[in-house]
């Protein structure tokens, strides 16, 4: 039987993250101001806004990547399934396993396709080749790369095309069975066909994972996300159903930005 404490702690509305009154500072510069936002589980949430608006800062808060930045200070709370991830007792390594990240430029390690996907598992001490092979295959399948890669698993990952490399990075994140995948402009370095592959993949992945994506492409946010949040100068201006935000935005600043009237 499921543990009642864990069950009751989970948000009844199905939010995986609940951010409340979040302020983020880089030394004296305030990058985010009193941001309150819920991130629903198993949906795609897009963060949009002009450069410097704070969207990537917030993204990096979800797996505490900002801890690595000197001078970064955080007030407010971020709860993941009811637990404060900035609590002193939080196991950050475990957090980053549960909250994977895919970056703007594909960054495969200079090793084989197989070793790239197995890397995280090996770091966790898993050496059993049977397990590794199974997880690598499953992860590559989920990342829609298996058919293209299955006959070349021991080829250097750097030989893959940009789009394939990005799918490999997604497979590498998936291998650790995360709950959330953070994506920071994952297609900005890719051509339209590779972009379409990643977008199709995101649609598939959300059945199993929560995806938060930062994108500069308004059309991409409109195409792939369920919820859209618009940030401006550190403020969360508006968050809502993507179909509403792109059809009838509530705030004129959102309207002007998505219509390309400034930015």
């Amino acid at each position: 039987m499921q543990d009642t404490t864990a069950f009751l702690a989970a948000d009844p509305a199905g939010n995986i993250f609940e951010v409340a009154d979040l302020d983020v500072y880089y030394d004296k510069f305030q990058a985010l101001k009193k941001v309150t936002i819920d991130i629903p589980a198993n949906e795609v949430t897009a963060f949009i806004g002009p450069s410097g608006c704070g969207k990537s800062t917030l993204l990096r808060c979800f797996n505490r990547m900002n801890d690595l930045i000197e001078g970064c200070r955080i007030d407010g709370t971020i709860r993941m399934e009811g637990t404060d991830i900035y609590d002193r007792q939080t196991d950050v390594v475990k957090l980053r396993t549960e909250v994977g990240m895919v970056f703007q430029a594909p960054n495969p390690f200079p090793m084989s396709i197989f070793d790239n996907v197995a890397y995280g598992l090996r770091c966790q001490g898993i050496r059993d080749m049977k397990i590794l092979r199974r997880v690598v295959e499953e992860s590559l399948k989920k990342a829609a790369l298996w058919e293209e890669a299955k006959d070349h698993l021991h080829r250097n990952a750097l030989k893959l095309s940009g789009g394939q490399q990005q799918r490999l990075c997604i497979a590498r994140a998936i291998a650790l069975e995360p709950k959330v995948i953070l994506m920071d402009e994952p297609t900005s370095a890719l051509d339209p066909i590779a972009t379409a592959h990643i977008e199709d993949l995101i649609e598939d992945l959300k059945k199993q994972y929560t995806i938060i994506i930062v994108t500069h492409s308004m059309s991409q946010a409109a195409r792939i996300s369920d919820k859209t949040a618009f940030f401006l100068l550190g403020d969360l201006v508006e968050v809502g159903e993507t179909s509403e935000v792109f059809h009838v935005p509530r705030d004129t600043r959102t309207e002007d930005y998505i219509s390309g009237k400034f930015g």
Binding site: M218, S219, A222, F246, H247, V248, P249, T254, E255, I258, S259, G260, K261, F262, G263
Partner: protein
Amino acid sequence: MAVRIEFQRELQDLHEQIIRMGAAVEQAIGLAVEALINLDTELAQQVIDGDDVIDEMERSIDRKCVRLIALQQPVARDLRDVTANLKLITDLERIADHATDICQAVKTIVKTHYEITIPHDVVVLADMTRRIIRAALDSYVNRNKEQATETIRMDKNIDKLYKQLKRYFVHQIEIDREHVATLIDLLLIAKHFERAGDHAQNVAEWVIYFIEGRHAIYEEEEAAHAKKANRDR
């Protein structure tokens, strides 16, 4: 910094094209009313001949809207603007078609050499239709929700008068078997005015959709449904 200046200029150009089309449609209905009252077949033919021009205006605007969607990928207000325009030009074109149909009927009536006086209430209906079209176009030009709402209200009176006229013509057909064809033509003319009024109402609804992102008629229907469901409970 203001950007997408070219897109905004193209949207402005689109509005001007629609206003010109609206003016042509308003004129067609106006001339159709005049042709009816004076049983003027020459004027009627002028309206019929002018319909091609309005059809071409619609096609040109249609092409422009599709091009703007394809190339500029508008969102939010701009998207509502382009889609509302794309829809309302169909209504404008249909109003012009009704003007043409009215003029065809006028020609048929005159051809029968029947000494006829157009019933007063048909003239009243014609005038109400002319006014609702003007009101719909004004609401479009001014992007004015109150004017659009008033336009929708005006259509209810047109529908009411048409229903009365229909009863009148059915009765006349029963008692005046000699002029059944002409009476049917007159009933059809009334129906064309009533339908033109419906299209004017649609234009006003598209104006409200553009302003608010919601369809006035749907919300009205939803409210009516909710009211009914409450009553039935």
